[in-house]
């Protein structure tokens, strides 16, 4: 016979899984819009607002489960981590919105040289891959998969710092491209951080250990 709290945990898990898929769609849409120079801001804005609302529901559910069931051990770790992951997903939505904004306002990559476009395309793919790892790790509660995120996280960090170096050293003159690409790489680097935090939470749920996967 399942415990009463299991029903609440299942509700929270279902909500978070739906949120995970929406978060991936939102990010993919905003990144594609940016790379292809297509305006997707209205759709992304709506999706981002939905993610914030869903994160609020996860938080409400967390408080309800704590108040009603006084969870402990793995239950407590799961509930606490779900709330944190909900906030990470909401941040994905927020960065998606930021990306769609610079796409519209600063023309995305239209005024950049080819190598910049290729560079950001590659970085975007890595970040979307990390987001997928974070979502699949959550869905399957797969600690082994979660731990694989470290390598790509380090690659993304390096790409971000290398890109800033290049901007400085190569004396780029197109200010729109500089602004757009610098912001984009920054947002991608932050999204990668949140994907890593999600994976750290999966490990914490399983083991109770707070580890760093960067």
């Amino acid at each position: 016979m399942s415990r009463i709290i299991d029903r609440g945990l299942e509700e929270q898990s279902v909500l978070l899984t739906r949120m995970a898929e929406l978060t991936y769609e939102t990010l993919a849409l905003s990144i594609q819009g940016y790379l292809k120079g297509k305006s997707v801001a209205p759709e992304v804005k709506e999706m981002s607002a939905m993610l914030v609302a869903m994160a609020d529901r996860v938080e409400d559910k967390t408080f309800e489960l704590i108040a009603r069931f006084q969870p402990v051990a793995s239950d407590l770790r799961t509930i606490k981590s779900y709330m944190k992951i909900g906030n990470d997903f909401a941040r994905y939505g927020r960065y998606s919105l930021d990306i769609s904004y610079i796409s519209d306002q600063v023309n995305g990559l239209k005024e950049c040289e080819t190598w910049v476009k290729v560079y950001i395309q590659e970085m975007s793919e890595k970040v979307l891959y990390m987001v997928r790892i974070s979502i699949d790790s959550l869905r399957r509660h797969d600690m082994t998969l979660a731990k694989t995120i470290t390598q790509t996280e380090q690659e993304v960090d390096k790409m971000y710092l290398d890109y800033l170096d290049k901007l400085i050293k190569e004396d780029q003159t197109n200010s729109k491209c500089v602004l757009s690409s610098a912001l984009m790489t920054r947002y991608l680097e932050r999204i990668a951080d949140h994907a890593t935090y999600v994976c750290e939470s999966i490990v914490y749920i399983a083991t109770g250990e707070k580890i760093t996967l960067t």
């Binding site: 415990r3 709290i5 006084q70 969870p71 402990v72 051990a73 793995s74 239950d75 407590l76 770790r77 083991t207 109770g208 250990e209």
Partner: protein
Amino acid sequence: MNLNAWFGQKQALKDINLSIKTNSVTAIIGPSGCGKSTYIRTLNRMHELVPNAKISGQVLLDGQDIYASNMDPVMVRRRVGMVFQKPNPFPTMSIYDNVAAGLRLTGANKGKNLDEVVRKSLEQVTLWDEVKDDLKKPGTSISGGQQQRLCIARAIAMQPEVILMDEPCSALDPIATAKIERLVVELKRNYTVVIVTHNMQQASRVSDFTSFFYLGALVEFGETKGIFENPKNPLTEKYITGEFG
């Protein structure tokens, strides 16, 4: 150390090794029949009052084995007081006499101002203000929660080093329970407290250390925060998350 206890042929405790820290609250949790009440009764030699009960191993209090041949069980129980599940004030005695009874019986009041001891004991359990005008009324005339605090006052009047509590709130309402819990946390300033409880939230609220017993064995012992956030033993995890049975 290496503590075993039996009721007749039935072994109730199996090789328990547990170090209880001074001036702390240690909670004992576990399912019914796991040996937790038996365990605390071995800590002040009450277990041996049960016919056919026996123990092996040692219980060290300040480095002395309380089961050593030269130890007087009555003196042990003065140093290690006990509060039971149901409040049990002496029914024929007044509130005042309930607190003073132990001192009078053991002659421990010699040279002491009894009124002062009674007052201080009742103050320590935050009962003084509630009963100071009714000290001559029967101990059983006050509420259940007040009676339980009276029993704690009776125990601390003897100035014990350790106070054992065997589910002290199980017969009390939530308000009386909250008062006892606050008191338990206060008591550790001056005493070492060991509390048996079925209420895991109570254990997590009041204790510094928690030990989980199962089938007469000590399964896990550690800081309460660790036990309730990240227990190491799967049996502990199952018990505290309600997955048993």
